[in-house]
C-alpha cells in the first residue's frame, strides 16, 4: 500500500512538471497578405493550433489552410484548389527552437527572439528562421508575435502568368498567439 502511495505521488509529480511546461492554444491568429501595385488581398485564420514547450524552448504550429477566411468566396476557392491544393496538403506546419533564456514566470517582453526551425507547406519542407517577440503577461499567459515573408515559389506554389501581377511573390505572414497552460 505504502509503495502504491509513493508511486502515486511520484507519478503525479512527474505529471505536474510535464503539464507545467506545455503551453497550448487553439485560437492562434495567422494573417497573410499579398500586396502588389494592382491588387492587395489578405486572409485570416483564427484557429491555428500551437504548442510552446517552455523548458525545451520549442514552439510548433499547425495551421489548417482551409480555415483561412477571405473576403470573397472565389478567392477562397482559388486559394484552396489552385494555389495551395489544400485537399492534398491540408496544413502548414512550423516547428522551431529558440535559445534565449526566458523567465516564463515574470511579466516581461522579450524582443527579437530568433526562432530557427522548419516550415512544411505545400508538400515542401524548408528551413525557416523567424524573428519574434515573446511577451510574458501578468496573468501568466504568454504571447508570441511574429512577422515574416514566405516566398511562394520556394514552396512550389505555382502562380499562372495571367495573374502574376496580382499576387505578390513573397506573401507577408503575421502570427499572433496567446498561450495558456493546458
Amino acid at each position: 500500500m505504502k509503495k502504491r502511495i509513493l508511486f502515486f505521488i511520484a507519478f503525479s509529480a512527474i505529471n505536474m512538471s510535464i503539464a507545467q511546461e506545455k503551453l497550448t492554444t487553439r485560437t492562434g491568429k495567422v494573417i497573410f497578405q499579398s500586396e502588389t501595385a494592382i491588387e492587395s488581398f489578405s486572409a485570416e485564420n483564427n484557429q491555428a493550433a500551437s504548442i510552446l514547450l517552455v523548458d525545451k524552448k520549442v514552439i510548433a504550429f499547425n495551421v489548417l489552410l482551409k480555415s483561412f477566411k477571405f473576403e470573397k468566396a472565389l478567392m477562397e476557392d482559388h486559394f484552396n484548389e489552385k494555389y495551395v491544393n489544400s485537399d492534398r496538403y491540408p496544413a502548414a506546419k512550423f516547428k522551431g527552437n529558440f535559445t534565449n533564456e526566458i523567465d516564463f514566470k515574470t511579466p516581461k517582453i522579450y524582443k527579437d527572439v530568433v526562432v530557427n526551425g522548419n516550415m512544411n507547406f505545400h508538400g515542401v519542407t524548408k528551413p525557416l528562421t523567424v524573428i519574434a517577440d515573446i511577451k510574458v503577461n501578468d496573468d501568466n499567459t504568454i504571447s508570441f508575435l511574429s512577422n515574416f515573408k514566405l516566398n511562394l515559389e520556394e514552396y512550389n506554389v505555382q502562380i499562372p502568368s495571367l495573374v502574376k501581377d496580382k499576387i505578390a511573390p513573397d506573401v507577408a505572414v503575421s502570427i499572433e498567439t496567446n498561450y495558456k497552460k493546458s
Partner: protein, 130 residues
C-alpha cells in the same frame, strides 16, 4: 438583321460581365443559412474517422452537423473554440454564447481538415443550433 445582331451581342456581353462580377464578389458560404449536408453524433464521427470509415474526402466542403458534449472551451477576442467529445474542434465566430463544459450541444460548420497537433477534426464558421 444587322440591327438584331448589333443588339444581341452587346446584351450577351453585358450579361456575361454582370455574371462574372457576381461570381467575383460573392461572399464566402454562409453557414447559418445553409442546411447541413450530413449530421453525426460526435462519437460516431470521431470513431468512424479514426477507423477510416469516414475520410477527409467524404467531408470536404460539406456543412456538417454534430451533436456532442463540450469537453473544452477556449476563448479569444475574436472567436470561441469548442471541443466536442475530446475530438472535434468547432470554431464559433460570436463570442457571446453562454457555453459551459459538460453541456450537450448541436452545432453545424464547414469541415476544414484534421488537426494533427491535437488530433481533432476541425470545423470552421460554426453555428450553434441548440
Amino acid at each position: 438583321m444587322k440591327k438584331k445582331i448589333v443588339f444581341i451581342i452587346p446584351s450577351i456581353i453585358l450579361v456575361a460581365v454582370i455574371y462574372t462580377a457576381y461570381l467575383y464578389n460573392k461572399p464566402p458560404k454562409n453557414i447559418v443559412d445553409s442546411n447541413a449536408d450530413i449530421s453525426y453524433a460526435a462519437n460516431t464521427l470521431i470513431n468512424n474517422f479514426n477507423t477510416n470509415k469516414i475520410t477527409s474526402n467524404d467531408l470536404v466542403t460539406k456543412v456538417i452537423e454534430v451533436s456532442g458534449k463540450i469537453t473544452l472551451i477556449e476563448k479569444s477576442a475574436k472567436n470561441i473554440i469548442v471541443i466536442l467529445n475530446d475530438g472535434i474542434k468547432c470554431e464559433l465566430k460570436s463570442t457571446s454564447e453562454a457555453l459551459k463544459t459538460g453541456n450537450h450541444i448541436t452545432i453545424k460548420g464547414l469541415y476544414s481538415g484534421f488537426d494533427e497537433m491535437f488530433n481533432e477534426i476541425s470545423l470552421t464558421s460554426c453555428h450553434l443550433i441548440k
